[in-house]
Symmetry: C2
């Protein structure tokens, strides 16, 4: 037995008890005749006291040789502290140490094990096991566990069954790139790691399982952008005999339960918005609605005033930045530079100050009079003291640009409150989206998504207009979940594959089992998948998913702690009937 | 909304209610003027009634065209049945159908969707989604979910934190063969899929996480034996600041809780047995102790009687088969043939009948008198009416042979009661085991297992005698969990790698991160891992793990439903800088 209590346990009512504690040396103060040590474990910190008058010489000597992060065990008596520390749950007591055992020594760690560490990202990832000793990181992992358990118990209570689907499946070139796994027993053949259990959960519906969920790792071999991981965790869910409404209600219930259990918040019915409306009002299909700055279309009040830039624009759209009139000329110039950065890509920005005296002062006063500018203020709902920012150009691009500006301004103005939660359903997504690279339509959600009833015919005439019963759950400007009602008959699924450019042979080779399954009595079904990493981060009031993953990979897909991936033996390659074919 | 109730819901108190049900057509009885349909879903079966007098002509016509496994929705009234079915929870009522909607038609399934199906294993696996519609398979999956949830909630309640460890890790040639995953972004390098999260859970202990668990998929590229899967699920656990006793207590608590929650059984303290004792008493390190037939060493009463076979044997060992005197001569000859099969490998078997009159009749009466045979009976605790079976030879081999015979006899005699549960801790496993192939010692558990305190020196003089604080939890003759106290200092770990034949460079390349971690204050720690697939099967009173896996692979590692693994595109290979190198 290494301990009778943990280091977060002891209080005044334990005084005079003999206890045994174990943990890491957090801090040492050595006054020679008295030595204080802060002993740390997962549960807290307890102060140890070594007193030359009351401890043996041997114990004092051992204590004087302790270093940071040594692992020790002590036995001693709980005593009341003379100077209490109200910041610490155990701050009323300390341990008068009788015996000290050094369980393991420690080299000086490469960064400080403190809430605010001096270690940079790279060093922390290389020594992630030391990073995890820090309270903020440990708390994040415990928090993640709590969220996962809450999800599981809630769904389980709603008759959902967690079913484990296989990790060694089949590669399908549709969508992102698969990670593949060579099969030794089936020469020249490969498994793929799942990008999601999509087809398996649909087969479970065909199998009558009715309400399925799984918290499951998924894999995507993509060129990593910041804060993307090659392996990530989904809360994957599917239901049979349901309409879209049933699914929205069920998972709104889950999300509301999480907000209540995890954050103590009561959230009313989630607002809903169509995809088209979200794009029009926020230029974005995952709007952060914790704050305003809604888009206003200004075409009618901004064109035909001889301002060529606007006259040639498909869309002229503005937002009212609250209190933005306080921005200096220099600050506004910086904003203009910001939207002109290649990452945003605007050609420029028109602005209009809503001055304290009720007048307007714009960067285009040459073309627009006070009446025009007043109507801009009206449409953007700008008030005195605000700044109207206006972008123009091709609709899709200008929306994306203004949406980026809106988020940037909200960030700068502190409008994205970490402890405020604004969920939103975005519904009626388009079935297809145009892909510039391949010059054809792709499935926006995935090729199993059903078009809205009666819209199948539109595929031939106006594919971009076909809507699906597809929906996203958005929380604070992040898509935390997305799903759809699925196709459940072979005819429609074949048509869809055909439309998406699969030859009948390709469709058969990759998804023949699913289409075959549809012939044996597939029920209507649909589902949703949540990104657990992001959900946990956002519930934790943060946005960096890496902080909520125990052993994340870096942007090159490497685990710098274990140094993976790594070369393998030629014997291993040969057993797999593979040869490296490195390009120079 | 597709249904107001499910097909297991309705009782007499629902009579006269209008309900909507959905599901699959299980059975149809068509009397022309009356049609009865059994409607099935995950929750049960409800009888539907179509009545020419009370249903519309259109509905009758539609009903008459239904086939097995059609997916339908009906609206109608709950009425009391004239002839009730007490076998069925909903057997008191039926639905007088008003409207019938066919949601999907179905081809005739390739096997019957009944508890006892006519489908063979191969067919059932190819159409696993239809197999899952059968109650026994569905019940197994629901049962598995219940076990997993119970494990998670119990451990979570004991302050364990479930931490997700990575799936894309580094290949280590030690142990079984890894599945590897080529990295596109790191040319010529590979990830490996984890055989277990062993090193990561140890790093979590170094990181202060203290009590970790994870229900996690693991992967082993082995030549598959019957009922082995290339991917399998572990309940992986680790604790810091614990002794072996703490771990045994904790996981005995978990197992007792499972037996109570899942099977309603109260089980007293689990017996414990050393590895040496288990081998001596049962010839096996995972003895089934639901029944007796313990081994008795007969050397002192069987040698020096001029029976050459025994005189030359290292070990002569017998068991008393209860009631075995009833076996006919032919049955005994069959048993002898059974032990002589190559899978068992005995040279022969001596037997002795304990006859009703108290006398003994053996196959070696020429060499042994009644007094000798009486002493065999005493040592094996054979009673009147039993049969003593005796094998002899080299100790390890003869133990394995007699253990196989003991299990076979228990099976034949019906002593392995599916609803009886006899857990057992086997402790003090050897640290090393001799490997005939490589002619050297290997780690019996894994290279991270600590030798018992003070036994490290024995490694040089008598390696086979070194014991470890390593333990298995055995349930009904199956190892359901195994673990050990780990090494937690760099020096011992280096010595162990050295001893196991790693060069310092290999040890550094493969496990350098772990040994480095040990230098920064590693706490004493240990853990255990349970095989969830087997645990669930045994708790379910069965032994075939495949029946408790939603989508299992066959013995060639293939998923015959989705037809994986499969060839991949040359483009995919080329992106991975690989070329096939198929041997003719």
């Amino acid at each position: 037995m290494y301990r009778t209590h943990n280091n977060g346990d002891l209080r005044l009512n334990h005084v005079a008890q003999n206890v045994v504690l174990s943990g890491w040396v957090q801090k040492i103060r050595n006054k020679g005749f008295m030595i204080w040590v802060d002993l740390r474990d997962r549960y807290g910190v307890t102060q140890l006291m070594f007193d030359a008058d009351r401890s043996t010489k041997q114990t004092m000597e051992a204590a004087s040789k302790l270093g940071r992060e040594f692992v020790i065990q002590v036995a001693g008596q709980v005593i009341e502290r003379e100077s209490k520390n109200p910041q610490l749950p155990t701050g009323d007591i300390e341990i008068l140490v009788e015996t000290l055992t050094i369980l393991n020594s420690a080299l000086t760690p490469p960064f400080t094990i403190e809430d605010q560490t001096d270690g940079g990202e790279d060093l922390r990832m290389k020594y992630r096991y030391l990073d995890i000793r820090r309270k903020p990181v440990r708390d994040n992992l415990v928090f993640r566990h709590k969220v996962s358990m809450t999800v599981r118990n809630y769904l389980s209570g709603q008759s959902f069954i967690e079913v484990e689907t296989p990790y060694l499946i089949k590669s399908t070139p549709e969508g992102a790139r698969d990670f593949v796994v060579p099969s030794r027993m089936n020469s020249g053949q490969f498994y793929a790691l799942p990008q999601s259990p999509q087809t398996f959960k649909q087969l479970l519906m065909v199998g009558g399982m009715d309400k399925y969920f799984q918290i499951v790792k998924c894999f995507r071999d993509e060129d990593l952008r910041a804060d993307r991981q090659p392996e990530f965790t989904q809360i994957d869910c599917e239901m049979a005999f349901v309409t879209q409404e049933d699914i929205l209600q069920t998972f709104e219930g889950l999300t509301r339960h999480l907000l209540k259990e995890i954050r103590g918040l009561d959230v009313a019915e989630f607002p809903r918005m169509t995809y088209d409306e979200a794009m029009e009002r926020y230029g974005n299909d995952k709007p952060d609605i914790r704050f305003g700055m809604e888009f206003a279309t200004l075409n009618s009040r901004a064109q035909h005033r001889n301002f060529g830039v606007f006259d040639q624009a498909e869309l002229i759209v503005g937002i009212a930045v609250p209190g933005g009139n306080a921005f200096s000329r220099k600050e506004i110039d910086q904003l203009i530079d910001w939207v002109k950065r290649p990452q945003v890509g605007a050609m420029g920005m028109v602005y209009c100050r809503c001055q304290e005296d009720g007048s307007f002062k714009s960067s285009v006063d040459k073309f627009f009079d006070q009446e025009d500018l007043s109507s801009w203020a009206e449409l953007t709902q700008a008030k005195t003291g605000d700044l109207i920012c206006v972008l123009s150009g091709q609709t899709d691009k200008v929306r994306a640009q203004l949406s980026a500006l809106r988020m940037e301004l909200a960030e700068r103005l502190g409008l994205r409150h970490a402890n405020e939660f604004a969920p939103l359903w975005v519904v009626d997504f388009p079935l297809l989206e145009w892909d510039e690279d391949s010059q054809r339509y792709h499935a926006m959600h995935h090729p199993f998504t059903a078009p809205k009833p009666g819209q199948l015919a539109l595929l031939e005439t106006d594919p971009g207009a076909v809507k699906a019963n597809a929906y996203d759950l958005v929380l604070n400007g992040n898509e935390i979940g997305g799903g759809s009602i699925r196709i459940h008959d072979k005819g429609t699924q074949s048509k869809m594959f055909d439309y998406l450019g699969f030859t009948p042979e390709e469709a058969q080779a990759q998804f023949g089992f699913l289409m075959e399954a549809f012939q044996f009595g597939a029920p209507p079904h649909g589902g949703i998948a949540f990104g657990l990493d992001r959900l946990v981060a956002i519930l934790g009031g943060q946005e960096t998913i890496r902080d909520f993953i125990a052993f994340p990979k870096n942007n090159a897909g490497r685990d710098v702690m274990i140094d993976a991936p790594a070369p393998i033996d030629n014997d291993q390659l040969s057993e797999l009937n593979l040869r490296l074919d490195l390009k120079p």
